[in-house]
């Protein structure tokens, strides 16, 4: 549930029915939970955004662990319980240390991390805290990832911050069965 319902196909204006069908097909034929039931209120936007999200999630070539770490940084910064609950579990599964996940959640000092993890955490945290990134932090991230991947990681964080805005503003409800502790907010 959320503050607004997801439109059924017959509620979608004719001009958007194709986009609606394609969008639903792209997310596996089921509207499911999460941001998509809300975003489908604008079917053409949903379709275009799904294509973009698929690239960031599935076509980028940095390690899955780095991808999930970027997502966690963004959703922690945006206090998004829904995305945190979904991605903290995934991050642990792909090998991100529990101590790192827990420290990001609780905003406690971070444990020792691999250089690429540290570079990413500092980059994302600095931006979301101060809206800029110091030269030293930027250079370390660039050295670790190169320009293409750093652009993609920046995009991924920005994308999940946008997702957080949708999930929080429209109050998409958490699933009943939680496997993760809530973010302290």
């Amino acid at each position: 549930m959320a503050r607004i319902p997801s439109p059924s196909r017959d509620q979608v204006p004719d001009e958007f029915k194709d986009a609606y069908d394609q969008a639903v097909a792209s997310i596996g034929g089921q509207i499911g939970a999460g941001p998509w039931p809300v975003v489908l209120n604008s079917p053409e936007l949903a379709l275009r955004r799904i294509n973009l999200a698929d690239y960031l999630r599935k076509e980028t070539t940095f390690p899955k662990k780095i991808q999930e770490l970027a997502i966690l940084i963004a959703v922690r910064a945006m206090d998004c319980q829904y995305a945190w609950n979904a991605h903290a579990a995934t991050a642990r599964r792909v090998g991100l240390d529990d101590a790192i996940v827990d420290a990001i959640r609780d905003r406690t000092p971070l444990p020792a991390m691999a250089p690429e993890e540290e570079a990413l955490v500092n980059y994302g945290t600095e931006f979301y805290t101060t809206h800029k990134v110091s030269q030293d932090t930027f250079q370390k991230a660039l050295d670790q990832f190169g320009a293409q991947q750093l652009v993609e990681l920046t995009s991924l964080m920005g994308h999940y911050a946008q997702t957080s805005f949708i999930l929080n503003a429209f109050e998409v409800a958490l699933p009943d069965q939680l496997t993760e502790s809530l973010l302290p907010v």
Binding site: E44, L52, F138, Q149, T154, Q162, F165, I166, N168, A169
Partner: protein, 185 residues
């Protein structure tokens, strides 16, 4: 100028040259300003982001003035000088009062504004400052815009906050000729 060099076609790996050509087809084979100069480091990402931007900017049907206002609220919240400089004049041109634009820039008390303006400002500011939107603010925005437009305005603000991340983190420089005062940060 920015913290990374502009991308030229010969720097792009073979597999991404098609995407590069598509993205730069209307700008003579390169992009040397704004967020596009950064996203081009990932040509396929840039290619897939363009339709989202295009939809949010040119296909949505809420008034241009509301669109520019949503962008300005975001640029101010993210301290993004580049977006502010580009969109404050566009906002004035679209009919936002100078007093309103200046008050957003300076985080000052807002002048009297229309109910749709006030609804989008309240919605955006609440999310960016507290990461949630209270029921009254949400309902006021929903009543003003309806579900489709409110989803699109939320996505627009999220999209521009992603753009702000590129522009600020990669330090894309402001144009030399400016007509707007910078944001007090």
């Amino acid at each position: 100028m920015a913290r990374v060099p502009f991308v030229s076609r010969d720097m792009v790996p073979e597999e991404f040259r098609g995407a590069f050509d598509e993205v730069t087809s209307e700008t003579g084979g390169s992009i040397t300003n704004g967020p596009g100069s950064i996203t081009l480091n990932s040509p396929e990402f840039a290619r897939l982001r363009a339709p989202v931007t295009e939809y949010l900017r040119y296909r949505t049907t809420f008034p241009k003035l509301i669109q520019e206002l949503a962008i300005l609220v975001t640029a101010r919240a993210m301290d993004c000088q580049y977006i502010w400089n580009a969109h404050a004049p566009a906002g004035r041109q679209a009919g936002l009062s100078d007093a309103l634009v200046d008050a957003i820039r300076d985080n000052g008390a807002l002048p009297n504004v229309g109910p749709d303006e006030s609804a989008v400002i309240g919605f955006g500011r609440e999310f960016f400052s507290g990461h949630k939107v209270d029921q009254a603010t949400f309902q006021t925005a929903l009543d003003q815009f309806g579900a489709q437009h409110l989803v699109e305005l939320t996505a627009l603000m999220g999209h521009y906050s992603q753009t702000a991340f590129f522009l600020n983190a990669f330090e894309v420089t402001l144009p030399e000729e400016r007509t707007e005062p910078v944001l007090p940060v």
